[in-house]
């Protein structure tokens, strides 16, 4: 996609993205741009376009190889899928990120460093899937996340690893099922300053279990969000009324592990939570109120229920950041909405004097 200078656009700061950029930068990046426009606190960062991915494939001369490997894939043929995945991944892993892209990464990474006041700021590198893929991305195994990445070289490696994940066996299999096995896939990447989270978690702007639209459901645990998202810990569980802010349900669980930045300064490690902190509730009512307020604004901005990843920074401020938002899909259970009926006919049904409620 050429920019005004006629050059393909590889990178753009998150704050300059809108939902219209989803086809070029992927859902995750576009949504973060929208959040920034709505003045939701989002850590600074930039988005890498699908054009960058295509440039990478083209420059490395992998087009034919990918096409060839995928041509032999049929849905359900797990062996063929594994073979194709292996062939493509191996080839990609040794191909360099194109210089034009690398230069831009360097510039924008430096911008993040400037904003954060750090020479070599820790960032999160995540895939940002495009089109129909975004909704199903989690299940299709295309949701790669690399935490606490530092230095341009490591960022570029992580970006390439995201691209590679596009050809993981589940991803190929998923596209094959959609009968899109042979289309050349593409993917964006999001690079964002890491929040050294004391507490982090996920928030749904509805109750995903009951479908109640008046509730916000929150899972929270110690450390970086990985433990909650990956289901490695039973998080504290809150249900809060959007209408009054009342905590309708609060279950505190024993949170035995957390992810923290590695002592070496690169990567995140899983550590045991000290005994005395495990059973401590990790969000107080003030923190919950801040989350609800942000959740309601996000929902209002997008006009639908959102699944939000958030983090609260370590240190006295406990500043709240949103690191991802996407529409809630496939509610486990919709509220049973009776067919629209007049108030009087509903009352008649209560007394068994009308059509049964359906």
């Amino acid at each position: 996609m050429p920019d005004t200078a006629g050059r393909a656009e590889y990178i753009r700061p998150l704050q300059r993205l809108t939902r219209d950029d989803e086809p070029r930068f992927g859902g995750k990046s576009a949504n973060l741009g929208e959040l920034l426009a709505a003045e939701i606190p989002v850590p600074p960062g930039f988005a890498i376009s699908t054009a960058a991915f295509r440039a990478f494939v083209r420059d490395a001369g992998l087009e034919g190889r990918i096409e060839g490997a995928l041509a032999r894939v049929t849905p359900g043929d797990l062996e063929a899928i594994a073979t194709a995945s292996h062939a493509i991944s191996e080839a990609m892993r040794f191909a360099p990120v194109p210089d034009v892209v690398r230069v831009e990464v360097e510039q924008h990474y430096a911008q993040i460093g400037k904003a954060a006041g750090l020479d070599s700021p820790p960032v999160a590198v995540r895939s940002s899937a495009v089109g129909e893929d975004s909704a199903e991305a989690t299940f299709a195994g295309q949701q790669e996340t690399y935490l606490w990445v530092r230095g341009v070289q490591h960022v570029c490696d992580a970006v390439r690893d995201c691209w590679v994940s596009l050809f993981s066996p589940p991803a190929i299999s998923y596209r094959a099922r959609l009968d899109r096995a042979e289309e050349p896939p593409a993917m964006g990447v999001t690079v964002q300053l890491m929040v050294d989270a004391e507490v982090s978690g996920v928030m749904f702007t509805c109750n995903p279990v009951s479908g109640d639209p008046s509730m916000v459901a929150i899972n929270a645990s110690w450390g970086l969000g990985l433990a909650v998202v990956g289901g490695e810990v039973t998080p504290d569980d809150y249900l809060v009324s959007k209408v009054t802010g009342e905590v309708v349900r609060e279950h505190v669980h024993s949170k035995d592990v957390e992810y923290v930045p590695d002592a070496t300064g690169a990567g995140a490690v899983r550590v045991e939570v000290p005994d005395e902190r495990r059973d401590v509730v990790c969000l107080d009512h003030t923190a919950l109120a801040r989350l609800i307020e942000v959740g309601k604004r996000i929902e209002r901005h997008f006009g639908g229920h959102q699944d939000v990843e958030w983090a609260m920074a370590r240190g006295g401020s406990g500043e709240l950041f949103v690191v991802q938002a996407r529409p809630v899909t496939g509610l486990a259970k919709k509220p049973e909405n009776p067919k629209p009926a007049s108030a009087m006919s509903l009352i008649m049904s209560t007394f068994g004097a009308g059509p049964p409620k359906g």
Binding site: S210, S241, K242, V248, P338, L346, T350, G352, A353
Partner: protein
Amino acid sequence: MATTAPKAGAFPSPYEIDTPAGCEGWEEMYPYYALFDERRREIDENRFWFWNSMHFPMPMPAFDVICIDSPYQAVGSWQNRVFAVPPAMGIDYRCVNGYIYISGNPVTDPAKIAERAEFFQKRAGYYFGNWSELYGKWRAKMEALIRELGELRVPDLPEYEPDEVAFGEDRNTAFYEVLDAYGRALRLGDLMWQHHFEFLLLGYGAYGTFVEFCKGHLPDIPDQHIAQMVAGIDVLLFRPDAELRRLARLAIETGVDPAFQQGRSPSEIDAELAETEAGKSWLEELEKVKDPWFNMATGDGLYHYYRSWLDDPSIPYAALIGHISALNAGERIDRPTEEIQRERDRLASEYGALLDDESRTSFNDLLNLSRTVFPYVEEHKFFCDYWFLTRWWNKIREFGALLERNGFLEDGEDVFQLSRYEVASSLDELVLTWATGGVALGPKHWPPIVARRKEILEKLGEWTPPPAIGVTPEAVTDPMTIMLWGVTTERVQEWARQQDGGSVLNGAAASPGVIEGPARVVRSVDQIGDVRDGEILVCGSTSPAWAPIFSKIKATVTDVGGVMSHAAIVAREYGLPAVVGTGRATAAIRTGQTIRVDGTEGTVTLLSAQGA
């Protein structure tokens, strides 16, 4: 509702319940038709009966049975014969060891149900369509009825009839006047019960439909929010306490507040007030408030034990003491009505906004209808159960006094140990012997019977009735049982599981919050005075008339009650955690035992093994 095949017994058979030792002959206190009789064993043993501890937490005195018969005659008439609620006729009751078990009569024939539906739609539709006008007429009817009761005179029996009887026209002799007055008193009671149930089913039904609609569309909505959206702002039931708050402020303004000291009885306080001019004018102000606002009962009025605040001012005086000390401590005691109004409208509009357009229309219509019916739902208790009934029991006491004066009873209060037929029969003999000058047998006949019955009632009071008897239904489908008593399929299954005991009781989460504290088990209203600050009230069911003591307690737990019970509404109003409908809290918990009440989850945990 109990039409399902008999299921192996979680609950005891009504025919296999032992009479507690020393209570032999308890059956004589009750009508023949109120007993589990061998002649209809086959039917009665195969039905599901649950203990109506909401209305009848204590063993019934013989006279008070009228407050079972009349209400069930009335509710059945409206439900079955006027509105013809399609799947449910009326409610049968039976008495076991003095406790009252009830069971609905279902309609199962689809053709009958369809036929009844036509009646119901037409008649209920008329009531809903003209609610405010009909309810206005109802209030006028009730006020007239209460006036008539007040005017009913219970004559004495003079040695000689006055001259008017000899010389006047249309004069009656005292024998007739006494019998007529007794007959009138009973009929006025019946009339009250008839009025009581005229709107009740429809009112609760409309509100219940709104509750169900909210829970269908907003499954996690707290019950409290539903109640807040509907509840009246200017509810009559809150008036008595509002008047007490006003009087508390007046006491402080006029400097008479030091008279209101914790531990003083109402008469001690009155005596001190009477010593000063300011105190006297405060007492005059109090007199003005008493009618009608002191026509509150000290408990839900289905027993003669529940006197009104007029008869026993200890509840309002305790409340006055509390209000005055709160005011002197600088606390705000007013009910912030404007705030409540704003919050009620805000909740309604925000919840409405979360629904799609079509659902929002139903939501708003149901909400408006619920708000229309709610004044009745709240106020009928004041008119019927409190105001009328406390005065009616006093009218019966006048007959008791007449019998006492003539030696038939040792104490006028003993009149409640006789059934209404036995009272009629005593009065018959009394006026007969008054007329003939003969010797009455009553004074020899009744006192030993009364003494024996008091002894039986006391022993029956120590017996713990099972929450249900008969067969366990697969499902509770009777809309009235669910709506009025909160007895659902889940509740019955829970009761069945709990028959084995256990240290956690489950009920309905009626008012949110978690509290631990010492329990105070209260099985009758005369124990209410034992409640200490900071205790958790455990009772068969709470009455909104106990509301003033809600400021003393930390939480409340009941045996029976649903989301729509007044107790639940009052608990939420006071912000107290409440679990209702546990089935057996009064049996499982001892006074002094430490318990945890989780009003959010609906559980009660017994933390210490024994009470004090």
